[in-house]
């Protein structure tokens, strides 16, 4: 555990990607293989199922630290992370022991079968025999969410460097679901055949937001322009007569997307398609929230399927006739994909696949016009892809760009503030905003991000001096400050007082130039809702 805890501390103490990679390389090269595979699993979100409830942890922490429950809760609220809170509240240990990472994890997994008494005995025993650094890591192992500023990409780079294997190969072999308890890291990284695991998706190629004026991209003829859809990016894989559907988060979601179950037999084996899964009814794209309600369900009813029938808008072809075609040019891949979809449609008219239509324009100005129309056709903007681009791994600059429309926006009044969690523990940074409804202010959105650290300190200072009332951790403040709130979409919501719910609300800027009376009204929000239909 010490080696893992040390590498965790090293990673946590640096902001440099290179140093994080080097720390991991050092760990992968020296750690016991059984520990190293768990490190990979944990850092790539493949942690085991949780076996201890947070309520139990709190209870035992109260018992061991002697701190009353209400104060543990207050502390947790301010620290924002239960594992860290407990680490800070427990007394320092003088008599520390050393454990192996994989043994600790296997014991934690096995707790599922144990009695409450046995679980408590194990956890408390560990709490009394670890250093503070290891205690934190141990608590993180229990509670999950190991967010340490290490992306899957960093892990891939470190493994590539440690085992001298190409990055994209590591990415491929690492993807999909595997169990660290039964997998050997070396076997996984060095096994060559694609057929080992026919479910494996390819790493997605992701685009950055356009950073320069669009005209600087050069000749329009070199670019393929598509719409950017607002659904779930996914891969459809058909191999050995079986279907696998992966989301971009690398979740295997085949069961949720029953529409695609008919594809094997219609689409030939050895095919992998990249696209956007969205609900389409009567040839109309439907808003994201229609699908959201369906995705959350464990069991799908007939009604869900009728209300939100899904199709994939096909963007790209990654595997064709069992061959990895990612190195072919975009236009070539697209031609193959078009043929494939057309052939399939010949066999089945109501095919749940559609080609992503190309946006036709004669110059960049026309492209810009199309981008502005995006919301009218239920899209988020445009995708610009170089016609000769290969399909890369991960988020890359240069060949692909996303060019989203500017967010919708409205000016709201700050009315409530709450202390932030985690990164913002000592500042009032969680804000509630309101719009005017006659003489009354109605809350319509909560937002946490968008201000600079300097502005946060300034607003925090203002809030502390203009508090009207306190309800628990929430302060109401004199309605004075106006902020421009940006959002990606708006839905009707009977549960909210304002009657609407915003998607991805965030602060665009502090409108120091606006007086409180100049903020927008509920009617303005309703007009945006109507316009978005």
């Amino acid at each position: 555990m010490k080696a893992f805890s040390d590498v965790f501390t090293q990673i946590d103490q640096t902001t440099s990607t290179n140093e994080k990679i080097n720390a991991l390389v050092g760990y992968f090269q020296t750690a016991e293989p059984k520990d190293a595979i768990w490190c990979v699993a944990i850092l790539t979100g493949r942690r085991p199922k949780r076996t201890v409830k947070s309520g139990e942890l709190r209870e035992w922490c109260i018992e061991l630290s002697g701190i009353p429950g209400w104060l543990v809760e207050e502390s947790y609220h301010i620290v924002g992370d239960l594992a860290e809170t407990i680490t800070l509240l427990l007394p320092e240990n003088t008599d520390v022991k050393e454990y192996k990472l994989h043994e600790v994890i296997h014991t934690l997994i096995a707790l599922q079968e144990k009695t409450d008494e046995e679980r408590k005995e194990y956890i408390i025993g560990m709490w009394q025999s670890l250093t503070k650094e290891q205690l934190f890591v141990f608590n993180k192992l229990i509670t999950g969410s190991f967010r340490v500023g290490v992306s899957e990409k960093i892990v891939i780079k470190a493994l590539a460097k440690a085992f001298d294997i190409e990055e994209n190969i590591v990415a491929h072999r690492l993807s999909g679901s595997w169990d660290a308890g039964t997998t050997s890291l070396l076997d996984m990284l060095t096994t060559v055949s694609i057929a080992d695991d026919i479910s494996k998706p390819y790493p997605f190629y992701l685009a950055y937001a356009l950073e320069t004026p669009v005209a600087e991209l050069g000749n329009l003829d070199d670019w393929q322009i598509e719409r950017k859809y607002d659904g779930i990016r996914g891969q459809i894989i058909i191999r050995n007569g079986e279907l696998f559907v992966w989301s971009r988060g690398e979740d295997l979601m085949t069961e949720k997307f029953v529409e695609f179950a008919i594809l094997p037999g219609i689409i030939p084996d050895g095919t992998v398609i990249d696209g956007e899964i969205i609900p389409v009814k009567d040839e109309q794209l439907m808003p994201f929230h229609v699908m959201q309600t369906r995705i959350g369900r464990k069991k799908l009813s007939k009604k869900h399927l009728e209300d939100a029938p899904l199709v994939m808008i096909c963007y790209d072809l990654l595997e064709y006739k069992g061959q990895d075609v990612r190195e072919k040019a975009m236009t070539e891949r697209r031609a193959l994909l078009e043929q494939l979809v057309a052939d399939a449609r010949g066999e089945m008219e109501l095919l749940p696949l559609m080609m992503s239509p190309l946006v036709v324009a004669t110059d960049w100005d026309e492209v810009a016009q199309e981008r502005l129309r995006a919301r009218d056709v239920g899209c988020e903007g445009l995708m610009l892809k170089r016609k000769d681009s290969v399909y890369k791994t991960g988020r890359r600059r240069g060949d692909w760009w996303k060019w989203k429309v500017d967010p919708l926006s409205i000016d709201g009044v700050l009315i409530y503030a709450q202390r932030g969690h985690g990164r913002r523990a000592n500042l009032y940074t969680d804000f509630t905003f309101a719009v005017w409804n006659g003489e009354e202010l109605v809350p319509f959105a909560k937002a946490y991000s968008g201000l600079t650290d300097k502005e946060l300190v300034e607003v925090d200072n203002w809030i502390k001096r203009h508090t009207l009332d306190k309800f628990g951790p929430v302060r109401s403040v004199t309605p004075t400050l106006v902020f421009e709130i940006g959002f990606e979409g708006i839905n009707p919501s009977p549960r909210h007082k304002s009657g609407v719910a915003l998607r991805f609300p965030r602060i665009l800027r502090w409108r120091k130039d606006k007086a409180v009376k100049e903020a927008n009204t509920r009617e303005d929000l309703m007009n945006i809702l109507k316009a978005q239909g």
């Binding site: 902001t15 992370d81 800070l88 985690g422 650290d453 200072n461």
Partner: protein, 345 residues
């Protein structure tokens, strides 16, 4: 005997305010940080060691009187004396006694002996006014010795890897404290101008500090290699600091106890070093006064007041002030705005 009004903490019998935030006639200043020592008072009174900084920050022409610790004086029947608060050099608790009733206004304080400030001394009283900046049980600061070791190890490692070490610390108090922790055998120590100004005041009025060199426009930056640079928090992200590349950035603050705060700062290293009291220190200090009435100011005051009532059966009251504790010291270094007290306090 003591009331809290729109100007600050007031003793009507003596006609004197303690750390007022609006211009008043007579002010006793607990220490020279900008949220406690403000501009515009007719007369100031503070510990002798605080005077050079007060004059430097508020003007040479302020009307200010210096006192020794425990030197008693009387204003209209109120016996007043200053006692060490251990917060920064020249920081004081103010003891006020009238007709047998004793109050202590502690300002900001800590119990750790930082090697720079006269260590905190508990003063018996009936009513005690305390800060609560770190009044939460998650705040347990490391010992002075282990901090010293951590900072010097960090510096040594950075130097070995060919990097400079930049530590951001508030110019008054923290910077001198950091400086005196450093192992001068590792390398050269440089200072930001704002830090050097205060260092000079310390050396002129109190005593010598470790040798440093002020970075000026004439300084040849190529010469700065594997060195320690002590700079103010406001230098973060400025061209001034970028010119010190390659460097590692360290921040010294009690907030660094929380991982979230460390990450928000984007520093390479957070050292949990504070001039305020942590949870244990607050509890120890308060119990040592023997006071039954506790007035809790800036910090986690509602939580801390509830703790004092529930756990020790003390009579604890929350008080709104314009003091900001470690936040202003560490985060902005900016003077809190004048005249903001009329709303919401």
């Amino acid at each position: 005997m003591i009331t809290f009004d729109d100007n600050g903490i007031y003793c009507a019998q003596a006609g004197i305010y303690i750390d007022p935030w609006k211009p008043v006639d007579k002010a006793i200043i607990t220490h020279a940080h900008s949220d406690h020592a403000r501009w515009g008072m007719n007369s100031y009174l503070a510990h002798r060691d605080a005077l050079p900084v007060l004059r430097f920050r508020l003007g040479e022409d302020i009307n200010v009187e210096g006192k020794e610790y425990r030197e008693s004086f009387s204003i209209n029947g109120v016996n007043i004396s200053l006692h060490p608060a251990g917060h920064i050099w020249g920081s004081a608790q103010v003891r006020l006694e009238y007709k047998g009733e004793i109050w202590v206004v502690s300002g900001d304080y800590k119990l750790q002996d930082d090697g720079i400030s006269t260590p905190f001394e508990p003063v018996k009283c009936h009513s005690f006014i305390t800060e609560s900046t770190f009044g939460l049980p998650v705040y347990n600061f490391p010992s002075v010795e282990s901090l010293k070791e951590d900072i010097n190890n960090w510096w040594r490692q950075n130097a070995a890897e060919g990097n400079n070490s930049v530590i951001l610390a508030y110019a008054l108090g923290k910077a001198q404290r950091v400086l005196q922790q450093l192992d001068t055998s590792i390398g050269k120590i440089y200072t930001h101008g704002a830090v050097d100004n205060i260092n000079k005041l310390y050396e002129e009025s109190i005593g010598p500090l470790n040798a440093t060199e002020r970075i000026t426009t004439e300084t040849d930056r190529k010469e700065i290699k594997g060195a320690m640079i002590i700079a103010t928090p406001s230098s973060a992200g400025t061209p001034w600091i970028r010119k010190l590349s390659p460097y590692k950035l360290g921040i010294c603050s009690g907030w660094m106890q929380l991982r979230g705060a460390r990450r928000r700062k984007g520093a390479d290293r957070g050292f949990v070093m504070s001039d305020h009291a942590d949870w244990e220190q607050l509890n120890t200090a308060i119990l040592a006064t023997g006071a039954t009435n506790i007035y809790v100011t800036h910090g986690y005051k509602s939580i801390y007041a509830k703790w004092l009532e529930d756990n020790y059966g003390l009579n604890a009251t929350e008080v709104d002030t314009l003091y900001v504790g470690e936040q202003a010291d560490e985060e902005s270094g900016v003077e809190p705005k004048e005249g903001g007290a009329d709303e919401g306090v």
